[in-house]
Subunit: 333 residues, 2 copies
Amino acid sequence: MTVLARVASRYLLPLFLLMAIAPSAQGAEVLASWNEGEAKQSIVRFVESVSKEGSTDFVPVPERIAVFDNDGTLWSEQPLYFQLLFALDRVKAMAPQHPEWKDKEPFASLLKGDIKTALSGGEPAIVDIVMTTHSGMTTVEFDRIVREWITTAKHPKTGRLYTEMVYQPMLELLTYLRANGFKTFIVSGGGIDFMRPWTEKVYGIPPEQVVGSSGKTKFEMRDGTPVLMRLPEINFIDDKAGKPVGIHQHIGRRPIAAFGNSDGDLQMLQWTCAGPGPRFCLYVHHTDAEREWAYDRQSSIGRLDKGLDAAADSGWTVVDMKKDWNRVFAFQK
Amino acid sequence: MTVLARVASRYLLPLFLLMAIAPSAQGAEVLASWNEGEAKQSIVRFVESVSKEGSTDFVPVPERIAVFDNDGTLWSEQPLYFQLLFALDRVKAMAPQHPEWKDKEPFASLLKGDIKTALSGGEPAIVDIVMTTHSGMTTVEFDRIVREWITTAKHPKTGRLYTEMVYQPMLELLTYLRANGFKTFIVSGGGIDFMRPWTEKVYGIPPEQVVGSSGKTKFEMRDGTPVLMRLPEINFIDDKAGKPVGIHQHIGRRPIAAFGNSDGDLQMLQWTCAGPGPRFCLYVHHTDAEREWAYDRQSSIGRLDKGLDAAADSGWTVVDMKKDWNRVFAFQK
């Protein structure tokens, strides 16, 4: 490095960093898929107020923590949580090694293609499927399995890769927040190790900024090589009242902005918006049966009932997908 | 922001960032408290090789993860782990509200100033003391208690604030690694919430990059306000085989460099250095009875026995504090 470059990086870099993050909300124009309206305005108003040096609502960069639910907030969750579709594909892939599944529910129905009967066992059946397909291998092996699936499997309705089923307006929002000094985290009920292999590429969120549900792992030596084995035991469920716990455990400070879409996110939004100083809480409301799906109070997946009432009571922003977004997915031009 | 500044930040910022992190190991001169020798050389050699674009050992910035133990690696741990000294101070502070402690061990002995008898109960006594003093309040209240203690309590031998008992050469190492694109994490057997209130100021490591042992917390509404209550229940012990588990849980990718000082760090070093590509593992060996403390294979605190053998077998760097550091603490000019 030349002396000039060294001087430049020492004196100019801080200056440019400052310009990049400080003066006022930069790049609201990146929110191109957001229609003008109260939802977009409330976002821009908040971001401008916390990032404007000298503003009474100014928040120092290290405290600009924003947390996002994943299923139904950053990508779709219909007709089933994508991770469950992954698990079902794994059951099929693993079936040749498990002849006993032919007579054992929920696997028997699954292998006949009868998902409805398989899942009729409710949560215990789902836990059984997830545990069976997500444990018994090392963390490195599971990572490889997820990477392979996520780059090849197709959504049953759109025929698209699952990573194409992410909401373009939310990608723009992540970019906008980061351009204004925010650190963005995922806080999802989904499996932490199911998300981490692809969130950096798709959302720009690195593995260390992903919080999620997890199974236990165990360190052991295998032929002299250390491995982490995935055990068929729940470690942590990052949903509902678990979300603030997961946030505290992983992030260690309270976010100033939270984004969700269901009752599973309610406590995360409550915890975030109960902190002192400026706070921002937002619900994505699925109102677009044509471009995506429409569901709320009665849905078994992504139910938004108590949350919708809490949003009204607390003055949180509610995004009407149909009205507020001019585009849902990037592939819908 | 002016047009010029906008253009400058768009086009020049990436350039300066690149210059700041990419070309070759920058700032080895910041390792001023390190004597010339194999330990310092091995660090610089590793950092140069992974950060030099085009080098066969080049590692992209997002994968430059470095993990540091805390007690005995970044700050001292004698005559007792500092967190235990904090807990003992808490027992004294809480005693007026607990008249029953006068007849109850280990509290009775502690309150008489007889630490040796109090701790003679071994781990159960220690767990009892820590649980009693670290739970029963909200996370916000505990944070405040730690902040107050860490800015006022003095070390029994040096009379210094505990945050002055950090190793100057290790602070320089943290700075050097970050200047070369590394993200630095703490991975400590100590309490995660005991460290987070001060690690950012002292080490430049933000709360979200601290991994440690923890108690369970519970989300609840208290007079309409959401709080996280600290429960008297162990959630996770981030020590020995727990360290790779904690790393996987919090960081989600394998570090390429690990720094420890005791057998409690052995699995973390094994896990780190067993990964593919360039890896760096280092043990701090306490050899300086004059400026700090000298202890290793026989010590009950910070025992370094198996780790010393593993380091020799595996070719890990071992820092001889007395020989390799020209200064231990900043207050020793």
